[in-house]
């Protein structure tokens, strides 16, 4: 009997494993880094098999520069496919210092999708500085590779330096997605789970309970945020209920592709078919007190289109946009930068507030206009964003 695991692709390794009538383990390696890492790779495989007590296996490996955490993931997948009952996790050592968990209202302007089977895209993802990275187990992974993708994603969380990015994983729709939780939660490195095809508040509530119980049982004090993805008519209809289904929800995200299919419309660049749904999602999320997050923009080469689509989303009340390519991150961040005029207005409002406060006045006015509390709050939010972008008021500009 023989099985395979992995891919014959950049920075990955394709393993073929076969049971043989012998006590030894044989590794045949083909690799472009043979002379520099061949010995290391063979020794790694031999050591792991020895420690796992596996013998009588012949392994043919076609490597294309895979790093150790990838090799371990592919080896674990192969062994689990070859030997029913093989339970051992071949997880790499955690080598990066995880930064503290992100808060519930973390800035989520951009989230970069990384297909769960492609290690080459994971290694450098944080260099493009998206607010979050999403290791995807759902749509980008073929049904036959769900098992291997989960192991690869788990190892990536442990071994890859995702820097300041929020570490998100998109699990498979419930209930299948539940089975993926132990491997992910045990890493102690996941910030947020994206739950696709969310339609019912009870389901999300159950998921939250499951997570809480699992973490309690394993003595883990971590908090996991949930971001349900609404991508059906039913999901949109129940937006507020889903958003308020438990206190671990940080955001509601929109999924345009599946939504269009669900309502029987074709997805267009203008997004007319989803306009009402996106507005409803914003309303539902705001009513539930969580962030509304927009879908991805799928034409990677159309930067102008992405910019206007993001500005439109901001106009509708969204706080974030999805990316399917690193190049999209900067464009999205540019779209979220406050306009100069808006910034100058916010500076003036803040000055007026400070003056009113110093004078002990309860009422804030800008010229002849009264500043209501919600307006003041919006000005403060603009200033906070502007500060993040390093915008500074011009000298005397606030008084003109």
């Amino acid at each position: 009997m023989s099985v395979s695991a992995g891919r014959d692709a950049k920075e990955d390794i394709l393993l073929e494993l076969e049971k043989v009538e012998s006590d030894i383990v044989e590794v045949a390696l083909e690799s472009p880094v043979q002379s520099l890492y061949g010995g290391h790779i063979r020794a790694l495989i031999q050591r792991v098999l020895h420690e796992s007590g596996v013998t009588g296996v012949w392994i043919k490996a076609k490597d294309a520069g895979a790093l150790d955490w990838v090799i371990l993931a592919r080896l674990e997948s192969g062994l689990k496919r070859l030997i029913p009952g093989f339970r051992k996790n071949l997880a790499p050592e955690k080598v990066w210092d995880f930064r503290p968990q992100v808060p519930r209202d973390h800035m989520r302007r951009s989230r970069l999708y990384l297909p769960g089977m492609q290690p080459d895209l994971m290694t450098g993802a944080a260099l493009f500085q998206p607010d979050g990275i999403i290791l995807d187990l759902e749509d980008s992974v073929a049904p036959s590779e769900k098992d291997t993708a989960l192991i690869l994603v788990r190892n990536a969380i442990l071994a890859v330096d995702f820097g300041a990015c929020e570490r998100m994983v998109r699990i498979n729709p419930l209930p299948a997605g539940l089975g993926e939780l132990p491997a992910l939660l045990d890493t102690d490195g996941v910030d947020t789970l994206l739950v696709p095809k969310a339609e019912r508040a009870e389901e999300i509530g159950q998921l939250a309970r499951y997570i809480r119980e699992y973490l309690n049982r394993t003595g883990n004090a971590r908090r996991i945020w949930l971001m349900p993805i609404l991508e059906t008519a039913m999901g949109i209809w129940k937006a507020c209920e889903i958003g308020a289904s438990c206190d671990g929800i940080c955001a509601l995200a929109f999924g345009a592709e599946d939504f269009s299919k669900d309502i029987g419309a074709r997805r267009t660049k203008q997004g007319t078919e989803s306009f009402a749904a996106r507005s409803m999602l914003v309303l539902g999320a705001r009513a539930a007190g969580v962030q509304p997050i927009d879908t991805v923009f799928s034409d990677v080469d159309d930067e102008a289109g992405l910019l206007s689509s993001t500005k439109e989303a901001i106009g509708l009340g969204f706080e974030g946009k999805g990316c399917i390519h690193p190049r999209q991150v900067r464009v999205i961040h540019d779209a979220f930068r406050p306009e100069e005029a808006e910034f100058r207005w916010a500076v003036k409002v803040k000055r007026a507030m400070d003056e009113a406060h110093a004078a002990g006045r309860g009422v804030v006015a800008l010229g002849s206009k009264m500043i209501d509390p919600p307006v003041a709050a919006r000005a403060l939010k603009v200033l906070k964003t502007a500060a993040f972008y390093g915008m500074v008021p011009e000298e005397g500009g606030a008084d003109e």
Binding site: L36, A64, D68
Partner: protein
């Protein structure tokens, strides 16, 4: 077997190569050879007909007096689309000559068939560059003589100070007349400048021009003047146009490489070099940084006095836009470059003599502000390698790389690791650049400034770019990739000698068992 001596960068270099004494590298700018430049025999007009055409290459070689042990020179302007080199050596093999020294200005994958002639002994060794399979052949110690690796400028230097004497210079030309006046901008196989052939024209004992586009006299411009030419041979086809144009001139789509290119452009601006003249290349990052730099120049209304290159459509557009004053062109990488050279008076053909030569009274390379280059390795003392990989295999030529290191700001830009192999290493396999020549190393995961450049360190103190030490870059690479094994080379058997631009021996490539 050759003795080895330790030179000024601490590398063991051969004292003799192919029967010629080698001067060990003594430091940048330290070597001053004496005497006069090489000369050629005095020709007389009376011996040359108006029409220099000969029926075929074989006859021209016979008339040139070809015999075993001679040195044959050729240029590489046709790149991978060259149709002359393989046919030339098939002919020479057929004529029964052996032990030839082949001195091309560069070789390409298309030239792999030469291995047959290296094995049979038709070619004794190669002086110039060895790429891919031929480099591998050399690394494994299978070449009869010792390979000599020189930069483009180094080829002129070696010809002029007599170290490299070319007996027969072969000049395939996209356009020529019966006197031998030749250029590279006209004809079906137009390739741009022919500057790499100029040394062969001026210094070879015999010069043969081959063309598939014979035009009536006068063939203008005559970048290769017919007064240097002995014979003209018409052939059916001189090159494969789509392969003459390098495949590397498209701007990379790799997000990592684009990120590095953006880092480079930002560094240039923050270090105060925006608007300086620059060296332009064809590949990946050294092409991509130009568009980001141009964006910054445009935003600030700054122009650069000239770009030296390697012309491409991108560079031509900048010239038309007025963002650069001139293109000083050594080779055209695409058809836009060829057309511009033909039509735009501010697009000037240069040769390695004007650009890079050590035995001249100043050269263009000294006037370049910024050069952004690649490398196969750089080490903790900023020494860089461009010919061998970390596994010890010789896979690339030096090209103009060493010559452009004389820019005011020399930046090496590459990913921190390629296919798991770290590029920042403890000590380079082969020194092609002394550490003092490299000012900055830019990667996607951090930027290191050579501590010798205090001025740059000061200027970049408050930069938001990820400035690190070179040691930190090394540690980052090791943390991701793991430590590679060291290849086992035979360190008493040099197979090739790496020359510095002044002709001294900078390092050696040592035999790597198969």
């Amino acid at each position: 077997m050759s003795d080895l001596l330790v030179n000024a960068v601490g590398r063991r270099v051969p004292t003799e190569a192919n029967g010629k004494m080698q001067v060990p590298f003594m430091g940048v700018g330290a070597h001053r050879p004496k005497g006069n430049k090489a000369g050629v025999p005095i020709p007389s007009n009376a011996d040359f007909p108006k029409d220099k055409r000969i029926a075929n290459l074989r006859s021209a070689l016979e008339l040139s007096g070809v015999r075993s042990g001679m040195t044959i020179g050729i240029h590489h302007h046709f790149r991978d689309g060259d149709l002359t080199v393989n046919a030339l050596f098939d002919t020479l093999a057929d004529m029964g000559v052996r032990d030839l020294i082949f001195a091309p200005s560069a070789l390409f994958p298309a030239h792999e068939p030469l291995i047959r002639h290296l094995e049979s002994g038709v070619i004794h060794h190669i002086e110039g560059s060895m790429n891919g399979p031929i480099g591998r052949f050399c690394t494994h110690g299978r070449m009869r003589g010792m390979g000599i690796l020189r930069s483009h400028g180094g080829r002129w230097q070696a010809i002029q100070d007599g170290e490299l004497h070319i007996d027969i210079g072969i000049i395939p030309a996209p356009s020529a007349d019966v006197m031998g006046n030749a250029n590279g901008v006209n004809g079906p196989s137009a390739c741009g400048p022919l500057g790499f052939a100029l040394a062969d024209a001026m210094y070879a004992d015999k010069v043969i021009v081959l063309t598939d586009h014979l035009v009536p006299f006068p063939n203008v411009p005559w970048e290769i003047p017919g007064m240097y030419v002995d014979y003209v041979v018409e052939v059916e086809k001189i090159g494969i146009p789509e392969k003459i144009i390098s495949g590397t001139t498209r701007i990379t789509k790799s997000p990592t490489r684009l990120l590095i290119a953006e880092h480079v452009a930002q560094f240039i601006e923050e270090a105060g070099f925006l608007g300086a003249s620059f060296q332009a290349g064809a590949g990946g990052i050294s092409l991509a940084f130009i568009q980001f730099m141009a964006r910054r120049m445009r935003a600030q209304g700054i122009q650069a006095p000239f770009a030296r290159g390697g012309s491409t459509g991108l560079l031509v557009d900048l010239l038309k836009e007025g963002l650069i004053g001139y293109i000083l062109d050594g080779q055209s990488f695409d058809l836009d470059g060829v057309r511009s050279l033909r039509e735009n008076p501010r697009h000037i053909a240069t040769s390695p003599f004007t650009s890079y030569n050590y035995h001249s009274k100043g050269n263009i390379a000294d006037h370049v502000g910024v050069a952004v280059l690649g490398a196969t390795e750089v080490d903790l003392s900023f020494q860089a390698n461009v010919v061998t990989h970390s596994d010890g295999l010789l896979l690339h030529g030096i090209g103009g790389w060493q010559n452009t290191l004389f820019a005011d700001l020399t930046i090496l830009a590459f990913p921190l690791f390629r296919g798991r192999i770290p590029i920042v290493v403890e000590e380079v396999m082969t020194v092609c650049a002394p550490g003092e020549m490299i000012d900055v190393v830019v990667t996607e995961r951090g930027i290191a400034i050579n501590p010798r450049r205090r001025d740059l360190m000061d200027r970049m103190r408050n930069s938001r770019l990820p400035i690190e030490t070179i040691e930190t870059l090394r540690e980052k690479a090791l943390k991701i990739c793991g430590r590679p094994a060291a290849p086992v080379r035979d360190l008493i058997r040099p197979v090739a000698c790496v020359k510095w631009v002044d002709g001294t021996a900078l390092d050696a490539v040592f035999l790597l068992p198969e």
